[in-house]
């Protein structure tokens, strides 16, 4: 892969690069946003029950629980 030296690019080089980039991007096949939103919602719903930051965690199961005092039995 050729290594470009960005410092050596002229304004014209940069303009050509940007134009070529847009030529690539205009050809993209785009999904309907409805399909993307559905997938995103499904992904989240499938995993949210296991998401500690959303659901919380009980003291006993929390590996980060603050160390309590000693209990003398």
């Amino acid at each position: 892969m050729p290594v470009i030296n960005v410092d050596e690019l002229t304004d014209k080089d940069k303009a050509v690069m940007e134009l070529n980039q847009r030529k690539l991007e205009v050809k993209l096949e785009r999904w309907l946003t409805s399909k993307c939103c559905e997938e995103m919602k499904d992904y989240i719903q499938e995993r949210v029950e296991e998401d500690t930051l959303v659901k919380g965690i009980s003291e006993e199961k929390n590996p980060f629980k603050e160390k309590g005092g000693c209990i003398i039995c």
Binding site: M1, V3, I4, V6, D7, L9, D11, K12, K14, A15, V16, M17, E18, L19, Q21, R22, K23, L24, E25, V26, L28, R30, W31, L32, T33, S34, K35, C36, C37, E38, E39, M40, K41, Y43, I44, E46, R47, V48, E50, D51, T52, L53, V54, I57, N62, P63, F64, K65, E66
Partner: protein, 340 residues
């Protein structure tokens, strides 16, 4: 018409075509699609641990993939590897240059990296034979500061720089494999896709770019922000990108629709976003701001559902652990906090 004028005119015309193509597939907004979903209940996380030890502003932190270790970088000139459960310092690595801006933990857990105003990315081997942590490689070629770095493996790392480029390095030989050029402003942040095939970069040209690592090309460019993008991350399934900007908003862009799906903003928030991380399922987006707080957003409803207030200065970095059990914040107040 001059050559430059001609080029610009052509580029503008294509830009309009892209805008039209994006609009053509916009048959719904995320707000509409999520209308039937209830907002997540108030999220109230507590500080479970405070990691004390740095003597100056913390600029970056990164969780290890395995175990509850993380690495942090401070302008006190140290990289510290922490056991977040015990709060013990596993390693305290003195740096040659204290002007560090980023750090990263390799997926293997064997290496960490950092860099900053020295324009270099230094790789450290945590598992050296004699137990001492030493510099393994210094990756030098960027002509601007190192803003971010992320390992692909023990042999490859990607860096982003104030010189407007990102680079894929061969750690073994210390050489550049690929230069990703195209941004027209300092690259501030990068994130690697879950399948390691792509990475995204956020820059001071207000855009985010998706790069194909092996082909070495930019596949997509996302605009819309009105100021520098400081933070970037992948949505957990790798199909969307989240950005955080000096324009006080975060945005979610879907890669397949090639456009923004939603903006996370509130008229009461007027300061820049410094850092962000999604929760395990992607339902929450935790974002650090210049006003010392972290706001927690419901990603589907674009509503603020929580705040982490606990730092006495800017929150510069945030990360959610690999198993989603906890979030870590790092601040200019020199402390890291673990929350859940």
């Amino acid at each position: 018409m001059g050559e430059m004028e001609q080029l610009r005119k052509e580029a503008e015309s294509l830009k309009d075509q892209i805008t039209a193509a994006r609009k053509a597939v916009q048959d719904t907004t995320l707000q509409e699609a999520a209308a039937g979903i209830t907002v997540v209940g108030r999220v109230q996380l507590k500080t479970r641990k405070t990691l004390r030890g740095h003597l100056a502003k913390i600029y970056a932190m990164h969780w290890a993939v395995d175990a509850n270790l993380c690495v942090s970088a401070s302008q006190d000139g140290k990289l510290i590897v922490w056991d977040t459960i015990t709060t013990n310092k596993v390693n305290a690595i003195p740096l040659k240059s204290s002007w560090v801006m980023t750090c990263a933990y390799a997926p293997s857990g064997n290496l960490v990296a950092c860099g900053g105003l020295d324009n270099m990315c230094s790789i450290y081997n945590l598992k050296g034979k004699d137990g001492n942590v030493k510099v393994m490689r210094e990756l030098a070629a960027h002509t601007g500061y190192l803003s971010c770095c992320r390992f692909l493996s023990d042999s490859e790392i990607i860096t982003s720089s104030g010189d407007c480029t990102c680079v894929l390095w061969d750690i073994e030989t210390g050489t550049q494999k690929t230069v990703f050029a195209g941004h027209q402003g300092d690259c501030m942040s990068l994130a690697v896709s879950p399948d390691f095939k792509f990475f995204i970069s956020g820059a001071c040209d207000f855009t985010a770019k998706l790069w194909d690592i092996r082909e070495g090309v930019c596949r997509q460019t996302f605009g819309g922000h009105e100021s520098d993008i400081n933070a970037i991350g992948f949505f957990p399934n790798g199909n969307a990108v989240i950005t955080g900007s000096d324009d006080a908003t975060c945005k979610l862009y879907d890669l397949r629709a090639d456009q923004e799906l939603i903006t996370y903003q509130d008229s009461s928030i007027m300061c820049g976003v410094t850092s962000l991380a999604p929760s395990l399922s992607g339902r929450l987006i935790l974002a650090g701001y210049d006003d010392f707080n972290v706001n927690i957003w419901d990603s589907l409803k674009s509503e603020r559902v929580g705040v982490l207030a606990g730092h006495d200065n800017r929150v510069s970095c945030i990360g959610v652990s690999a198993d989603g059990m906890a979030c870590c914040t790092g601040s200019w107040d020199s402390f890291l906090k673990i929350w859940n």
